[in-house]
């Protein structure tokens, strides 16, 4: 098994986060 991207229960440690509608696109606030 190879971890490509580590997951977390801690939302501040994962991402990107942001307004991303339409799905698959990115808008103004993407971290």
């Amino acid at each position: 098994m190879e971890v490509i991207k580590k997951g977390s229960d801690n939302v501040s440690a994962i991402g990107p986060l942001g307004c991303c509608f339409p799905p698959g696109t990115e808008s103004f606030r993407v971290r």
């Binding site: 098994m1 190879e2 971890v3 490509i4 991207k5 580590k6 997951g7 977390s8 229960d9 801690n10 939302v11 501040s12 994962i14 991402g15 990107p16 986060l17 942001g18 307004c19 991303c20 509608f21 339409p22 799905p23 698959g24 696109t25 990115e26 808008s27 103004f28 606030r29 993407v30 971290r31």
Partner: protein
């Protein structure tokens, strides 16, 4: 023990008998071989036991349904109330006025010759500092936007100067970016802004010369493409410049031609990143905001919509080894329902939590004269649309029950579901592949 209901498989990728497994809640992406896949289906076997701790840490395996429900609830609690740990991003509109007449402008019905005055920009500074001190914010990033923000540069300099000064004294990270049509940027201006915290200029170009000039002419109809390109050339060695582009079916095919042209003139690999997104519908006129305009743009969600175009332009960027800011596999964090998510301040000082609501005061959540938000803020904050989602939907953490603006456009209220599950079914496997390729190639 059970498999998380938020796991998504992409089988036989990147090769036969290798599989990608993505968890929409923890955002973990793992690659497993055939034996582990079979072990996972049985929840037993040597490879399962060998990797059990890592599978639990990444949320692929949970103890039971109840635990997963609690984790989902906690996920949304964090998203709503702990966004102060993120950068506080504030968009400031220095004016609603613009020297362009873009065919799809989402501020079309509210475009007026209103400029942010000195009194208002002073209040913006005070409001931001009060907010930052009260919420103990550690990172502040401003984005100047419009209309065309560079039609009113004084507030950009004033607000940034004061915020940079305060941030230095307070140990807070500070920076700002400008989203501009690119017609008014010049080197001396960039020097001036660099001294007060400028980090990035984002210029909108909607395709090659012909397509861009059709979509984004000056107000008097004159073409803007060549001037913008020349302006970028003049500032590219001073500051990071990104290119954003909006597309529909008509101009999509011109985007690769834009990349070709930028390459030919030596700009392509000097640019920081590219963001291309479909044009979206907008609220109706001021007196009737629920009357959707550009409703044909909702077609990206239909079966033959812009799904393939969204993916193919990202693939095109990867192929050319250009920086892809995200694959698109992201968590929808709607600022309307987040306590300390960024805000947008209009030229009059009204505060909004979604750019698409700009110009409709009935949807503002406060103004810079008052430190506290109004009741509308709390109404938005208390929306938990995800709570109405079907229990078997694996996309809930990524989708939150959908875009609140779309809910308004579709349901005439902000709180109902705007479910796009069919669309997620089609696009998510491709986004997982893209995310894998991006991470592996950029590693």
């Amino acid at each position: 023990m059970k498999l998380s209901r938020f796991n998504l498989w992409v089988e036989n990728y990147p090769e036969q008998e290798k599989h990608l497994l993505f968890n929409t809640r923890t955002q973990a992406l793992i690659k497993v071989d055939q034996e582990l896949k079979e072990n996972l289906e049985q929840l037993s076997g040597p490879k399962f036991n060998e990797n059990l701790n890592a599978l639990k840490e990444n949320g692929i395996i949970v103890n039971n349904e109840e635990e997963e429900k609690l984790k989902l609830k906690d996920f949304f609690r964090q998203l709503k109330y702990e966004s102060d740990k993120l950068t506080f991003e504030t968009t400031i509109l220095t004016t609603f006025s613009c020297n362009f007449k873009c065919s799809y402008c989402f501020e079309e019905s509210v475009r007026e010759k209103i400029f942010m005055d000195k009194d208002t920009s002073d209040l913006v500074i005070q409001w931001l500092i009060n907010r930052a001190e009260k919420r103990k914010l550690k990172k502040i990033y401003l984005i100047y936007y419009g209309g065309e923000p560079l039609l009113n540069i004084r507030p950009i300099y004033d607000i940034s100067w004061h915020m940079q000064d305060w941030a230095r004294k307070s140990g807070v990270d500070f920076g700002f970016g400008i989203i501009t049509n690119g017609s008014l940027v010049y080197p001396d201006l960039i020097d001036k802004f660099l001294s007060v915290g400028l980090k990035e200029v984002r210029v909108t170009i909607d395709g090659d010369r012909e397509a861009h000039n059709k979509n984004r002419p000056f107000s008097d109809g004159q073409p803007s493409f060549d001037l913008i390109i020349n302006n970028i050339k003049c500032i590219i060695d001073k500051v990071k410049v990104a290119v954003a582009g909006n597309f529909d079916r008509e101009n999509f095919s011109s985007l690769p031609r834009l990349l070709d042209y930028l390459d030919k003139i030596g700009l392509l690999y000097k640019l920081d990143y590219f963001v291309f997104a479909p044009i979206v519908p907008r609220l109706g006129p001021k007196e009737n905001p629920s009357a959707i305009e550009l409703s044909h743009c909702l077609s990206f969600l239909e079966k033959d919509g812009l799904f393939n175009e969204v993916l193919s332009i990202k693939r095109e960027l990867l192929k050319r080894k250009l920086k892809l800011r995200t694959s698109g596999l992201a968590i929808n964090a709607c600022p309307l329902t987040m306590q300390d998510a960024g805000v947008t301040i209009d030229p009059k000082g009204l505060i909004y939590k979604c750019n698409s609501l700009l110009g409709y005061p009935e949807f503002s959540v406060g103004d810079v004269h008052n430190e506290e938000f109004n009741q509308r803020h709390d109404k938005f904050l208390n929306i938990d649309a995800w709570d109405k989602c079907p229990a078997d939907c694996p996309y809930v953490p990524m989708c939150q029950g959908g875009c609140r603006l779309f809910s308004y456009l579709e349901n005439k209220n902000f709180s109902d579901l705007s479910c796009k599950r069919d669309y997620f079914d089609r696009i998510t496997p491709e986004l997982i592949k893209l995310e894998y390729d991006k991470l592996v190639k950029q590693a």
